[in-house]
């Protein structure tokens, strides 16, 4: 290569550096599926604060730790206490006990996943890529749903493994409780679908971050509280329909049905725990997982509709 000599006219430093040139790209273009996978992976990483600042990381991992707290306590007690098959918390009650942590996680993450792109107008850059608007919406929902798996199914599996190890005959224990595994996965997956899609739906309408977080918390918890009070205080058969307005009740019903542990109806069911209220409503048990799934489908459809409208 000839020695570079500054020539008149191209003498400026920047000019010289620019002239290092531009290379055309001849390699493969992988298209839509790969682009979506990239968006999904980036969104999951964002959900846990990876590649972002310390604060989002700290928040996500704190909530992740809280979601595991009960499983960890169970493991420690199981290991220390000289009892065989000690159960501090049962798998069918696990999600109900950590539901507020799950709502907080959805509130914190959903706004990051969809709100930021809308606020900073990055959405217009995504839409100029070889993906469709529906793809963007579904990738974001998938990212939140699968991030939630780490807070639901993961601690349950941890607990399952720990219980097996803690039992005097581990293999025997696994054989006896093998039916729990598909139940853990199925109930957890349904929960994640419903929470994730509802969270993205709410966040996709709330422009500001704080507003999105408050809206998610409010919609899950206010519906839960109001429905709980209405059912227990108003002595009317028709109130059983109110339960469908509370996602937390419906998801609990779905989990209890899948674990075959819907409580028996008794005189005080109406005023009891959420599970008792669900049982009191006295719908066929399979209604609850179907309703949970319906929440996910309707919310996803509304999210897709939301993004079709924006350019």
């Amino acid at each position: 290569m000839a020695q570079a000599e500054p020539t008149p006219g191209s003498g400026s430093a920047t000019g010289t550096i620019y002239d290092l040139g531009y290379q055309a790209y001849e390699g493969p273009r992988r298209g839509r599926g790969y682009a979506l996978w990239s968006l999904y992976v980036l969104s999951v990483r964002n959900a846990f604060g990876i590649g972002r600042g310390a604060l989002p990381k700290a928040m996500a991992f704190t909530l992740l730790l809280f979601a595991h707290a009960l499983a960890i306590v169970q493991l420690i007690l199981g290991a220390v206490l000289p009892v065989d098959e000690f159960e501090f918390v049962t798998p069918e009650d696990y999600y109900g006990l950590i539901q507020f942590i799950l709502v907080l996680f959805v509130a914190a993450i959903a706004s990051d996943l969809v709100g930021n792109d809308r606020r900073t107008n990055t959405l217009s850059l995504y839409f100029s890529r070889p993906i469709e608007r529906d793809d963007y919406a579904l990738a974001k929902i998938a990212a939140l749903c699968s991030s939630l798996l780490a807070l639901t199914v993961l601690p349950q599996l941890l607990m399952f493994a720990g219980n097996a190890l803690g039992a005097s005959d581990g293999l025997d224990w696994v054989r006896d409780n093998a039916d729990e595994l598909p139940r853990i996965v199925a109930s957890g997956a349904l929960l994640c679908l419903a929470f994730g899609s509802l969270g993205i739906l709410i966040a996709s309408y709330a422009e500001r971050r704080a507003f999105a977080m408050i809206s998610v918390i409010a919609i899950f918890l206010v519906s839960f509280t109001v429905v709980g009070v209405v059912v227990s205080e108003i002595d009317n058969e028709q109130m059983r329909w109110a339960i469908f307005f509370s996602p937390l009740h419906v998801v609990d019903g779905s989990t209890q049905y899948i674990f075959d542990s819907l409580p028996e109806i008794h005189a005080d069911s109406r005023r009891g725990e959420p599970s008792d209220q669900v049982a009191w409503a006295d719908f066929p048990g399979y209604v609850w997982p179907i309703a949970t799934f319906a929440f996910a489908v309707v919310a996803s459809a509304l999210v897709v509709r939301r993004y079709r409208g924006s350019v």
Binding site: Y22, Y34, S128, P130
Partner: protein, 310 residues
């Protein structure tokens, strides 16, 4: 293959007509898209990207139907929006890598492309910093870089010099010109400043109120409307009369005449012939191009011409 071809492209919203029967045939190069705010420039770009469906009419970009093959169009086209669109809590490098991947470029190639295009737009050490702290000029460069990340065949730049100071403007225009002319990427660049368009563009599309006012190569446009300025020592009026008799369009400005049709040899010869016949002392004769700005001034004869031709 034409770069862009539209036929009777019309877009009606419930209350406004954004585009009204736009028929275009654009050849590759750097094309200026000019028109006042609300003329339909952004709507046109969105239709060409396959993001908005036209009410009637068709649009083809690089031979692909924008309405039916939007995905394939967007695979080979880059877009730089007018407004701010960068996430402040990411570095330029990570962001451009991600955008390259969103266009289908595999991970390791995406990293190479990102450093390639960021260097091309003149971002060096700063590219590892969060974009929240960038100046407007740096943000505009990143916006251009993300549009180039997947090595498109065509770029849509929406007001790329928006918000830049004069020096930043110059640098951005240089960058646009280099991208278009040295790297052979066709560019459609919207601007409301004709001087910018004239400086870097080869072709021009003028729309107003959703209608096409004028399209063509800028050189031809200014050629057509070029004038011959003729200065004689005396008797400019007699020369003007004689030229008018011979069917030329003449304007007298003191000792100087401006004769329309400066691009053609016939006019040139006719003037020389008249000067010789009248035996006038010719001081000088020169060809003058009009700037685009003069052409599109309301009331200027160029503007009338632009309504007629096209």
């Amino acid at each position: 293959m034409p770069l862009i071809e539209t036929n009777g492209l019309t877009k009606r919203y419930s209350r406004v007509t954004a585009l009204d029967g736009l028929t275009l045939d654009v050849e590759p190069g750097i094309i200026g898209l000019v028109g006042p705010n609300g003329a339909g420039k952004s709507t046109l770009i969105k239709i060409l990207l396959g993001l908005v469906d036209a009410t009637t009419g068709t649009a083809e970009v690089l031979g692909l139907d924008a309405a039916r093959e939007g995905l394939r169009v967007r695979e080979v086209v880059g877009y730089m929006p007018e407004h701010d669109c960068l996430p402040p809590d990411q570095s330029a490098t990570n962001f451009v890598i991600h955008m390259a991947r969103m266009s289908g470029i595999p991970p390791s190639a995406a990293r190479e492309r990102a450093s390639e295009v960021l260097r091309h737009v003149g971002l060096f050490e700063e590219r590892y910093r969060h974009m929240g702290g960038y100046s407007t000029g740096m943000k505009q460069r990143v916006k251009l870089a993300q549009a180039l990340a997947h090595d498109p065949q065509l770029l849509f730049l929406d007001e790329p010099t928006n918000g830049l100071d004069p020096q930043g403007r110059d640098e951005m225009l240089d960058l646009v010109e280099r991208t278009g002319h040295e790297f052979g990427i066709s560019i459609v660049m919207s601007s409301h400043l004709l001087s910018e368009i004239e400086r870097v563009c080869d072709g021009l599309i003028v729309i107003d109120d959703g209608k096409l006012m004028r399209t063509g190569r800028i050189a031809e446009l200014t050629d057509e409307t070029a004038v011959l300025a003729v200065e004689v020592e005396w008797d400019a009026d007699r020369l003007a009369d004689m030229l008018t008799e011979r069917g030329l369009e003449v304007q007298v400005l003191g000792r100087e005449l401006e004769v329309a049709g400066g691009g053609s040899d016939g006019v040139h010869d006719a003037i020389l012939d008249a000067v010789v016949t009248l035996n006038l002392p010719l001081v000088r004769m020169e060809r003058r191009r009009r700037t685009l700005e003069e052409l599109f001034q309301p009331g200027a004869d160029g503007a009338e011409a632009s309504n007629g031709a096209g």
